[in-house]
Amino acid sequence: MSAFIRSREFLLTIIVATSFFIYFPYFVTSPEPLPSIESWLVTTTVVIVSFAVLVSLYTMTRREALRVTKRGKGWPYGLIMIGLTWFMIIVGVISGSSADAFRFCTDAFILPGDATIYAILVFYLTSAGARAFKLKNLESLVLMIGAVTVLLKQAPLGEYLFPYIGPVGSWMVNNVGMAATRVFAISATLGGIVLAVRLLTGKEMAMVGLLSRRKKD
């Protein structure tokens, strides 16, 4: 039985079958039970996701517990991390996510964390810009022209000092930017569809990497 479940053919059949149930009702108006199977599959994926996180919780707890008991490097950090995780899980499971203690942790640590990392992006965008915008060749010249016109157009002071830059900047974003976005979408779409074909024929490298085994196994 285990050899059968491990076999490439069996797992590939699962992929092909699930894909069929997703694709078919979308392109062809199909009778029941096909649409119900489709929505069942989508729900099932979410269920699978929700259970997968428990495995991650297990590996994480085991790793940090080992670090703490063996007094590995930086073990107090591990203790804080795993302690807060389990505290939140216990509070959240017992009294729900609107409990005061739970809200306290969210408001004091998680939401400020989210907002901070989002705000930190400006710093790295600036240092990347200062580093990368060097006129080395034609490409870097047009890169810089695109960036500077749009920057000047957006800053109120820039638009005031250079009134003609506004329309040029808008034209850049609306036309050059849009054309590139369109081509990017076309390219990615084609890549995606061809990838689906490779996946369904079992040729995609990720699947080969997942399913291939050494001879003696």
Binding site: T126, R131, A155
Partner: protein
């Protein structure tokens, strides 16, 4: 001389980081008030909302989730009170994002106050408009574009009998003559996920409903595209557009204050690029040639 160029080429990135902190702090605490040019798009958006007549019904969509709130709040806090300030206009609040109601309530809390005798939502009075008299909140309807399409085809059916808080709203809808999507005169959508495309497809194209759109920078290209074709009546792009709108509507807020810091940061980036290039040309390239 070459030592200056060397400094230009090897300037520590932390200098820029510290400068950003200082400029932003200074700009926020001591606004200078650089001149602001209001673009035609925002003027148009303002004029469209200004043209609302008594009896018009406006649907405001909160396509807002946590990550975009800091960027879109400037628009929300100026456009929404502007709409509420128009006399005789009825407002329906709606969100297509599961967290959207949080930001809807945040907005109402900031621009309104609890009605007499009440202390919790939905009983808030905003610019003289009372809940269940002048406005209602139908809350979150799942499905994103599917929800917008469903509202267009069967408005009353999808909205149901009650609002987001469980109050019966049938009488209100009947009294204001809202039977189907065609009875809604204008849609204002505050986008973090590009909902305007669906509004255009399912509302503008069949009913010619007027749409005004505010959005975050990432979804700007698509909105500008729709605006240029004439499917959107006005657009308010990111913090810059919000500042212009606050300036026009006189609901001054942080977006307007932050424009100074904004200008300073953008000029700082340009100066950083120039210094980097000077350093590159007069020092780094020579080093490369030597080695």
């Amino acid at each position: 001389m070459s030592s200056i160029f060397k400094i230009c080429a090897t300037i520590d990135r932390r200098v820029w980081y510290a400068l950003i902190f200082l400029l932003v702090g200074y700009g926020l605490l001591r606004p200078v008030g650089f001149p602001l040019i209001v673009g035609p798009e925002v003027k148009q958006a303002y004029a469209v909302i200004e043209s609302l007549k008594p009896g018009d019904v406006v649907l405001i969509n909160y396509d807002i989730s946590a990550f975009g709130w800091d960027e879109i709040k400037g628009s929300a806090l100026s456009m929404v009170p502007h709409i509420f300030s128009k006399e005789g206009v009825k407002v329906i609040l709606f969100t297509d994002q599961d967290q959207g109601y949080i930001y809807l309530e945040t907005t109402l809390k900031q621009i309104g106050s609890p009605m007499k005798g009440y202390d919790k939502f939905p009983w808030y009075e905003v610019q003289g408009k009372k809940y269940l008299e002048d406005y209602i909140n139908i809350g979150f309807i799942p499905g994103f574009d599917k929800a917008i399409a469903a509202l267009a085809s069967d408005f009353r059916g999808v909205v149901g009998r009650t609002d987001w808080y469980g109050n019966n709203i049938e009488a209100w809808l009947d009294a204001n003559g809202i039977k189907s999507a065609s009875d809604i005169n204008m849609i204002v959508t505050l986008d973090c996920a590009g909902a305007q495309g669906s509004w255009v497809n399912y509302w503008y194209l069949p009913y010619k409903t007027r749409i005004v759109n505010a959005m975050i920078g990432v979804s700007a290209p698509a909105s500008i595209n729709s605006y240029n074709v004439g499917m959107l009546e006005g657009i308010v792009v990111s913090v810059r557009g919000a500042a212009e709108y606050q300036y026009l509507s006189k609901y001054y807020g942080t977006a307007l204050i932050s424009m100074d810091a904004f200008s300073m940061l953008q000029f700082m980036l340009i100066i950083a690029m120039i210094i980097g290039n000077v350093g590159y040309y007069f020092w780094e390239r020579k080093q490369e040639k030597v080695s």
